[in-house]
Symmetry: C2
Subunit: 196 residues, 2 copies
């Protein structure tokens, strides 16, 4: 099936928000989603955005029964390794069930890898316009040396997909554990900060 991978625009946030919920339902945690499409618009399409996003779009003749042509997304951001340097982290990769097995997931992930390799964030005078493009698509090399992501161990289909594509499981191989402060523990920790 023909599909196109393109940078998400501000007006795609409703579609992205819909698919974030679909992914959360698949992961059995729909009640965990607290972000709205307005949050996504503010956080991804302003100066110094917190994330960038690519979407997969199919032609009208393949639209879903609900009329959707945006059928997948990859949301990512740039990180840093003090050993290796510039890196990119893919937070979400999702393709609607009826559109799986057609290379769309690989296309989205490969594009994230290419964006990490090829592009660099530059100031964009149109940052707040509806035709804002993620800074990664504006130009100049970013030269990321890593693409990283996290997967739930019970999500075997996804784990197998990434491993088959060549990803290393660093938790299994090196024993990396992922830790989080949030809510009250984050609040308490922040209060321990020394005075300036």
């Amino acid at each position: 099936m023909h599909f196109k991978v393109r940078a998400a625009a501000k007006e795609d946030c409703k579609d992205i928000s819909r698919m974030i919920m679909e992914l959360a339902v698949y992961e059995n945690m729909p009640d965990q989603v607290k972000t709205s499409h307005e949050d996504l618009e503010r956080d991804g399409f302003s100066p110094n955005p917190f994330y960038e996003c690519l979407i997969a779009e199919v032609p009208d003749e393949h639209k879903t029964k609900d009329g959707y042509t945006v059928v997948g997304y990859a949301l990512y951001f740039y990180t840093y390794s003090t050993w290796k340097g510039r890196s990119v982290y893919m937070e979400d990769l999702y393709v609607m069930p009826d559109f799986r097995g057609k290379g769309i997931g690989t296309g989205l992930m490969a594009k994230v890898a290419q964006v990490g390799f090829m592009f660099h964030c530059m100031a964009d005078p149109n940052w707040n316009s509806s035709i804002y493009l993620p800074c990664s698509l504006v130009g100049v090399e970013k030269q990321c040396v890593r693409l990283q992501l996290s997967v739930l161990d019970w999500n075997k289909p996804s784990l197998d997909f990434y491993i088959a594509k060549g990803a290393e499981d660093l938790t299994a191989k090196e024993g990396w554990h992922f830790l989080r402060f949030h809510g009250q523990t984050l609040d308490t920790l922040a209060k321990e900060a020394p005075k300036d």
Copy 2:
């Protein structure tokens, strides 16, 4: 012991680079460090920096036998949760051995948590000057809802430190595995990207 936590300046990159190597030696992987202080200067002190860094400094009377007064650092960057929104990730937290047990590590980490809570990145006309301040220290709320990090399972002292401070081990609790594409696998993946 009195110490000060402040935003790293471009000229601190040699100290940061020295401590990155000390941390890598502690983690038994000194040969893994490929970043130079010039890389750190370019990647952290330019527009749209890849990371921000806080350093801990002691008064001259407490300087090390080698004459160092910069004795610890916390390097972090901003990430995004599609469920919860704005987050901060602490890539490294390090305090030189002779200065541990004095609250410096807690002070650095707490300041990262506070920065995530309190500040927001803004355009800085002095981005390339030697007095450049990380954008997180420029002003306005960032309102991150999470502080995340990764720890090697054999690094029990660090794991215990974070857990004691209230961190949740999401790998143990929810089964999150950390995956990575790099080198040839990243190159191969990027080549699979669909044409624009």
